[in-house]
Symmetry: C3
Subunit: 344 residues, 3 copies
């Protein structure tokens, strides 16, 4: 792939600064780019590299000026760079059909324009739509569904009847539709509640590696359109995550909890079951969420509290021994005063 600075600026709807015939042949980070590479600057932490980078061009925000350097100025340099990386890196896929080393149940339906690798198992009544890609070791249970252009990376497990819609990406080792964790007590014994619901993953969702998303006890566990989930995330049965929410690595959500739209749950946050997190709420890293969160709220800490409160409280925690000592000292001074007052 080869593009000129001018062509890229036009593609991005940005302004080229410098020689528009400069040839760009690759994309790299600002600290490792060389001749022919285009890079970008968005995080101020990397500003120091702007002078020294060997890149042939840098995508920057409109207010930035670097004499003698070829630039493309755009409102959102990271987004622009994302688009450039995409055209430089995403190649055409080979939809080779079904490998003879895969196992495909005769009563399943697999679109011929797909890529089903060796050692994939497709169960009875399962459906695989156009341009779906199933990497080695993928398991598709009876009656499961994989929509168009969805990609299941190696060793992904989709249990029976679960639905993966279109343009979904699921990374290696993730398990969709294992039984939820539900037991009734009969005296000392725990009796398994059969988990007969399903999981639905809607369009344009991306799920990281080694996640666990349990099927509903009854009804559905549902991940709505556009949700992005990082690695090692735990989703209990009957959870709903609404559109465009972001779940960072190692988050855990207990059963029947409802996450609204555009919510952010940061890394290692944990949520109890049967609660509601409102649209646009943010839960910061490692927070322990034990009750509902209203829309737009930012919550932090374990147990959680409003983020601003937490920011003020935590420095005091670190200095509690001093506070403890101060109170002891005050107590003694009061004692002295009381003695004097009694004498007086």
């Amino acid at each position: 792939m080869e593009k000129t600075l001018g062509e890229l600026a036009e593609f991005l709807g940005g302004v080229a600064v410098g020689d528009i015939t400069t040839v760009i042949t690759g994309v790299k980070g600002i600290d490792e780019a060389g001749t022919g590479d285009i890079t970008f600057l968005a995080n101020p932490k990397y500003m120091k590299f702007l002078e020294t980078t060997a890149a042939s061009a840098v995508i920057v925000s409109p207010d930035m000026n670097v004499p003698g350097r070829s630039l493309i100025k755009v409102d959102n340099p990271y987004l622009a760079f994302t688009k450039v990386v995409t055209i430089f890196s995403v190649g055409a896929r080979d939809y080779f059909g079904v490998s003879p080393h895969a196992f495909v149940h005769p009563e399943s339906q697999v679109d011929p324009e797909c890529a089903v690798y060796p050692f994939v198992y497709i169960g009875k009544g399962a459906q695989v739509k156009k341009k779906a890609v199933l990497y080695p070791g993928v398991y598709l249970g009876d009656g499961a569904f994989v929509g168009e252009e969805s990609i299941l990376y190696p060793n992904v497990t989709i249990m029976d009847r679960c639905v993966i819609m279109n343009r979904v990406i699921i990374h290696g080792g993730t398990v969709i539709g294992a039984d939820g964790f539900g037991f009734a007590h009969e005296g000392d014994k725990q009796v398994k509640f059969p988990q007969i619901g399903i999981v639905v993953i809607e369009d344009d969702v991306e799920i990281g590696s080694n996640c666990s998303i349990d099927r509903a006890a009854l009804g559905e566990t549902r991940i709505h359109r556009g949700v992005k989930m990082d690695n090692l995330v735990q989703i209990g049965h009957n959870v709903v995550v609404e559109e465009d929410s972001i779940l960072v690595a190692q988050v855990g959500i207990s059963g029947s909890t409802h996450i609204g739209k555009k919510v952010v749950l940061a890394g290692q946050a944990g949520l109890v079951g049967h609660i509601t997190v409102g649209d646009g709420a943010i839960v910061t890293a490692k927070a322990g969420v034990y009750k509902d969160i209203a829309p737009g709220e930012v919550m932090s800490g374990f147990p959680m509290m409003p983020h601003k409160k937490w920011l003020r409280a935590m420095p005091v925690v670190a200095k509690l021994p001093e506070l403890r000592r101060e109170v002891d000292a005050l107590s003694k001074r009061i004692e002295q005063l009381e003695k004097k007052a009694t004498k007086a």
Copy 2:
């Protein structure tokens, strides 16, 4: 499947209220049930649905009365509903034997009445007992054992010599018997301690998806009868978990720790190694357990403290800035008093 209200009441040992000839054809949650469905009410949060549900019958506790609605009254509605769901949903399995697409070592022993799916690997000297089910991608190492009616879901790994007893359920992607994390130090270098012990999973244990249960360094890691484990749980080498304990998602237990009977470890709790948690103890979500817990104790927080203490302490944490300010104000008032006292 079709049952009358009267038949189900008899099956459950409960009392039918309303027309005992009402026909029940399915099971659903109270908010989605329709004609022909039976549902249940146990969580008071869902009480509002009792009037509006379209269900043909509801399983409730004996004290509940809903004029005009068909009911089954039982002491434990959730348990009763669990039993109804079980008879409505659990079908007969097809023990088709060993798929020709599986790899079975000639020196292994596999009961003919089993289900070994394509792409299963069964190692030398391994044993698979009657009515065991091994889904695609299961690996059974040399000398490993799977007991009667146990189910290993897709891509489960059982390393060599590990023992899975009877009626065990292990969900997708879980790894049993990988090496424990043990290294000796030789100067700067870390020398691997060969992990030559095994893992034993006793009868009626259920283990979630993508868990890691390490083999012992020497001896055994043992999960006793009836333990229920959620997803993404970490169990270090030589850990013992006794009967009927419950481990919720993302719990982590370090090496050689001993968990008693009927213990509950809630989500994301973490336990250091070489400690003992007594029978019936409860560790609440996200707790950090750094020392022994006596039987029956309830512990919370990070670092952990008795639950009641924690419940009292945490609200004060959230208001530490106010406490800090109050102490400063008191200090000033004391200063004033001291000045006055000196003058006087």
Copy 3:
């Protein structure tokens, strides 16, 4: 295997105490060892077993004396025992070559002296070097590399172009090189940044089961020589972990964070992205790391603080209700004093 006490003492460079012709035929833990076994004592918790163990010999530190018991005295009993276990347990591997049930792309290079089990997938341009072992269900993407004597346990996924150097051990279910978690925002929509970098795992690294190590956005995610990683660990894109660091189970590291040499990150610790942890630093269990850590520092708690500070602060947290009450009481006493002072 059979060795005399004298032979073992010589092998270890230690001092034999007792009958040097005592025959040792096995290795066991001190609480389960019997006749013929050698065991060791390092953790004082197990001292009580020293008198009662049925072991034929015990490896101890030089200062220990147990009349009537055969001993080997060495400076580091755990290291010595590790070496003894190694010679008693590690057998010769069978490098049987490539199973006819594996899928090996014709344009890959696989050394004939290797062990590639059934249901392994080796992609186009991939390389597998001498004495590498790939267990069932391993996926090796196009252009991936596995060095000499490296072992990939069942269902390990190595995505395209990732590099696993020599003598690396990766336990079951781990995913190396899935896409990092990177999205640009375009209005409400999230646009995937193509993750075109790789992962490099250097010599002598060991990685636990069900870990997720993401490929770089651009450039590399790199785990340097000798790093040891436990189970269920999350490593974000472009993270670097330098030589000989130790990452305990369920640790999570966000993107672009740099971990120095000989760092210890204890269980369930979480680190934000784009920070630096200096050589030799220690982060204790469950800590929340939100900024750089200087070399050699020990940090604890959530949010993290210096370990010593944390040790002093936490006991005060548990007693905050008392402190709260004391301050209230002081306030009342001051009020009394103030009233008196006003009157006076």
